[in-house]
Amino acid sequence: MATPPAPVPPVTANSAPTPAQSPFKAPPFSQPPSTAGTLKTEIPPASSSAAIAAGVAAVGAAAEDSSHVITVPSYSGWFSYDSISDTERRLLPEFFEGEVAAVSGSRGPEAYKYYRNTLVKRFRARPARRLTLTEARRGLIGDVGSVRRVFDFLEEWGLINHGAPPLGAKQGKDKREEATTSQSSLPAGPTTPKKLCVGCRSVCGSAYFTCEKADISICCRCFVRGNYRPGLTPADFKKVEISEDAKSDWTDKETLHLLEAVLHYGEDWKKVSEHVGSRSEKDCIARLIRLSFGEQFMGSKEQKMEFEIDDDVNNESRAEIPKRPRLTPLADASNPIMAQVAFLSAIVGSGVAAAAAQAAISAQSQVDMNDNQTDSPISSTKEEANDLLKEASTNAQVQLQKEQKDIEQSLSAIVDVQMKEIQDKISRFEQKELLMEKEREQLHHLRELLFVDQLAVVQHQRRPHAVAAENKEEEKPKPIITMG
């Protein structure tokens, strides 16, 4: 803003607002940025007599340069170097939630603080110059993705590059205009007309997905790819459509022209758009689909097909609710074609997607069958397809039976082997039993021998006793021989 610095009123004079265009030069160093929030809110919204700077306040640079005036929009009044506010926690959950952030260190709140404070300080050191992302991330130690997200967040909320000229813009008047327009529009949130996806920071197209749990909204691409926090499931998201007809309503005349053109030219959208006049091809197609006739176009095709491809798909197509909150996105985005299909089906809604799938399958079967028959009625392809299906089913049954036989054979083989094993074991056990029997007999034999020996010994003991007793009576002085 190209206004000369006003004479310095003390900051408390905010309550008496001058036309809010002139920024206040706050005394340097004595005003910590954290209190600036409260001061700013004292500027009553009534000062929006100057339509441009509704609620713009000046914050003295907490750093070296006291002659520079840093402007920060009032909706970013929560900013403080020392703490992290709820706004930041909400809009940049990657740094505050999940197990990665909980470990802290390089990915957690400290990292966020480091990035944020460094970026803000660097910008405020030279506020007239735009801080580019390249310059910023070259000067920050960390991965580019995280730095970019913090950078974009700060830029959106006016804490960075606020009032700085955009890339390649002229100085002076243009600068002020750019600055004022950026001031008056709040950053992305549920209130802005254009939807910014929280996941990839790009503008959402015709539809987007909101999640109440985390109060974020992502575009279709991010939803399909699963580019949201790990804590959320696809079921948490609701699809919201942005009506395009609000841009310019189709008059009856234009609609009439459109229908005529479609009748005459069929699917030649170039000619159709020419006929309609001021509408592009895409607009014509979109308008046609949105008309009630569009459903009839799809509906007639459905009647002719009688394939029972998927019960789920058929049920969905019969239910005439084109937009359902419950979607089953195909999360496998590795195949690029599948990713495209998933993306389109997410935008378009289940009914149309089902009809398109059926149409695609019928088209494929037509290609497979006969390329020559250009005017083959759809019923014949149906029959041929039925025949193919029957063939396929009989083949499948034959294979099933084969498999079952194989299984039975291998089962019996297994059983045989087991039996053999058991018999082997039995024979071995029998051998061992024989051996043991022999041993037992030997033991018996030995025991008997031992018994006999013991008897003999005892008898021998008795006899010398008897002999000794007789000898005792005859000769006493003879020593008694003890046998033991």
Binding site: T118, T134, R148, G199, C200, R201
Partner: protein, 169 residues
Amino acid sequence: MKTVSLGAPRSSTVKFRMPTRDNLVPIRVDIEVDGQRYRDAFTWNPRDPDSEVITFAKRTAKELKLPATFVPQILQSIQGQLAEFRSYEGQEMQVKEKIMPLKIDLRVNNTTIRDQFLWDIGNLESDPEEFARTLCDDLNITDPEVGPAIAVCIREQLYERLLVRLFLL
């Protein structure tokens, strides 16, 4: 101070990843078109969506005022390196303590850093970013571009050792 876990398991098997606390890939870009040269090195999170690469390429070209022909080349270069990293990702690898010397020998703007130190390339909690930050703080380096260059240099060496170990297994 970070807590170092002593008594960590001798050798464990993990899925392929950078042996650092954050699984970030070092990316180096060097493109020359019609006499104009763009050289850059930075760290990338392989879990970022592909749209991030496209946005980055466009934004960088715009901010550095490079001609539009650079954008697809930058895109290809980054995506190629990311694809290479992702191609290894399914494999299992042995991780155990292995202390190896890392070297830094680089010049950023007017600052030259030459250093050599030991690093445990099997420590999954190591943090090159913290190392770079501490080094710059301790040496009172004023140029902010030195830190990232050091971090990328360390990551590149770790990645190299990782691949060597992977292929020797």
